[in-house]
């Protein structure tokens, strides 16, 4: 029984699963604690604020005139009066970033490489996320059915593509980091 268990633990897939789950628990636990502490201070979390702020800037760059930006405890509202969109905590993309970091910890045994790739991953995911929300504000301003179609079907896939791209590029990133 013990030898069967130890041979099971030697399986790379099992080891990855254990490392992945533990990393996800730690990251999500820390994030939940952070959200709880900001709620205690009756404040909005920094990540959602920054994502909303940058999305607002992008919407302005995309030509959305009179684009307003207001933040409350539960999220931010961006857009033209009467056509505003809500950016809540769940829209900040950080949970996807945590899945990617948990994957890196599960796969990598080199801490330096894990940290560098985690930073690249978070930046890339947030880049896609800010682009997604900025575009959403612009589409809402334009009006029509495009906004509803994009928010329901396209943008969900769009942010997933960022993390899939990172997974596909990971072998190349590993090679580059090994050379450095």
């Amino acid at each position: 029984m013990i030898s069967k268990l130890s041979s099971l633990l030697e399986d790379r897939f099992i080891r990855f699963s254990v490392r992945f789950v533990l990393s996800l628990i730690v990251l999500m636990g820390a994030y939940r604690f952070y959200l709880w502490s900001t709620a205690q201070q009756e404040d909005l979390d920094w990540i959602t604020y920054q994502v909303s702020f940058l999305s607002h800037k992008l919407a302005l760059l995309l030509g959305v005139a009179n684009c307003e930006f207001n933040c409350f405890m539960d999220g931010c509202r961006i857009g033209v009066e009467g056509k505003m969109i809500n950016v809540l905590e769940g829209c900040n993309g950080i949970k996807l970033g945590f899945v990617y970091i948990a994957y890196l910890i599960g796969v990598n045994h080199n801490y330096r490489s894990t940290i560098i790739q985690a930073v690249i991953g978070i930046v890339m995911i947030q880049f896609f996320n800010v682009f997604r929300i900025g575009m959403l504000v612009a589409l809402r301003d334009l009006g029509g059915d495009a906004y509803f179609y994009f928010i329901k079907y396209i943008f969900g896939v769009f942010i997933y593509l960022s993390i899939i791209t990172l997974w596909l590029l990971k072998p190349q990133i590993d090679k580059t980091l090994d050379k450095l």
Binding site: F13, I14, F16, F98, V107, P171
Partner: protein
């Protein structure tokens, strides 16, 4: 997989429509969607020739992560799939023979 996800989104949209009409219970909708996701996930693991153990562990972790932390089910599943794809020692060489 992305196409399957889009199809699932259309299906979910239809169930939400029924839910809005009060034609169907919220819990039933949730259960149907959850079972659909697991069934499609099983087909995905079968199509990529993974073992039942790999399917079981990945699905269990994805369900728990979804229910406890609100993490995307699909992303957790893809994490496991990408691991097996890029780690041939623990993955492709142990692929189930059909």
């Amino acid at each position: 997989m992305i196409n399957a996800y889009l199809l699932l989104s259309f299906g979910v949209g239809y169930f939400r429509f029924l839910e809005g009409n009060d034609s169907i219970n919220v819990f039933v909708v949730w259960l149907i969607i959850a079972l659909l996701k697991v069934a499609m996930n099983y087909l995905y693991f079968r199509a990529t020739k993974r073992s039942v153990l790999q399917f079981g562990i990945a699905t269990l972790v994805a369900i728990i992560a979804r229910l406890v932390f609100g993490v995307s089910f699909l992303m957790v599943i893809l994490s496991f799939q990408f691991f097996v794809e890029f780690n041939p020692v623990g993955g492709t060489t142990k692929r189930m023979v059909s």
